[in-house]
Symmetry: C2
Subunit: 222 residues, 2 copies
Amino acid sequence: MRVLFHTILSPFSRKVRIALGEKGLDFDLMAEKVWERRDEFLALNPAGQVPVLVETTGFVVSDSSVICEYLDEVYPARLLIGSTPAGRAEARRLAAWFDQKFHAEVTQNLVWERVTKRLMGLGEPDSAHIRAGLLNINYHLDYITYLVEERRWLAGDDFSLADIAAAAQLSCLDYVGDVPWEDHPDAKDWYARVKSRPSFRPLLADHITGLRPPVHYADLDF
Amino acid sequence: MRVLFHTILSPFSRKVRIALGEKGLDFDLMAEKVWERRDEFLALNPAGQVPVLVETTGFVVSDSSVICEYLDEVYPARLLIGSTPAGRAEARRLAAWFDQKFHAEVTQNLVWERVTKRLMGLGEPDSAHIRAGLLNINYHLDYITYLVEERRWLAGDDFSLADIAAAAQLSCLDYVGDVPWEDHPDAKDWYARVKSRPSFRPLLADHITGLRPPVHYADLDF
């Protein structure tokens, strides 16, 4: 069986889980405590990060963007990046926006501070980071609102890797209760549409011991 | 004419300059002071970062990885990412390694601290960052050595985006004199091979007012 090494609140792991689900590809999830830097895991990915996908053939692919490009090349029946150079550039631009900019400005300030630091025994959250994350998320939800005013999905007419990358980040923040959905109704409507997709369902069943998500996390009509 | 918005010591801009050169595509360079956040530039790329490529048709692509994927799709005569899914995954994995890991652990600690901060008027370099960068670069040069012991180029038999991404980062560090080449002769030999390519030549003529590169920077037999 295909195996995906992941951590529950890694947005990049979630991105690949959704992509595999959209493509209808079965896989087993293996939780990896990346901070333990296991030798066997470092042999799979010397960068020491999740996600890492191990195909049934034993072929190993790491880095969420590399995995998603690989999946679109090898399982093209349902394309996630798009079919024209311009459409693909737009889906990739927005996926990179959420993977890099949103992650640095929001997810690291909130999920890292509130959860990962604790799991790794690195102490209390830094309140300056929390404040920055809670401020920055509004700009990104405004950007989503701007995009879905003109488009059905973030990169255009079709659901794409852009939606997957954005929803993967937001789902981690939603787990810790940090998304001001009520202030951004159009972004909320877009997220509800992503959330109701079968590929997203397994993420809503995620559960971290000692850290219960808010009630609306798994609610499709939140 | 095709236009590339760049800054001289942006490794991501350099990556695209080399890629365009490898493909034999002409372009005009436009220096962009990204920290001034010009409205016209933000309209091209709301992320406010270089590189941004504007095609002769007016089509705009931003983010160095997105631009390189686009170039390989639209100008495939000379492929830079590879031709098989496994080869492409390896070239992309290593490009991501240098774009993300090397950049965060080395380039930001050294080039940002020594140059960008000064250009932006943000004060003196932080010595803890400089020390971290000067230590970390050795691990990455060791990794390059490990790769070229087994392979002709970083990702395999062919020169690829992996070499371009790595050399783009290293060329910025070389400009500020921070690469301990003598301690890593195999990595130095690989870099000399990249440096001698015609696509790399324009980078060696780069010059920042008030910041002269070391003599070996433009020397092919350094």
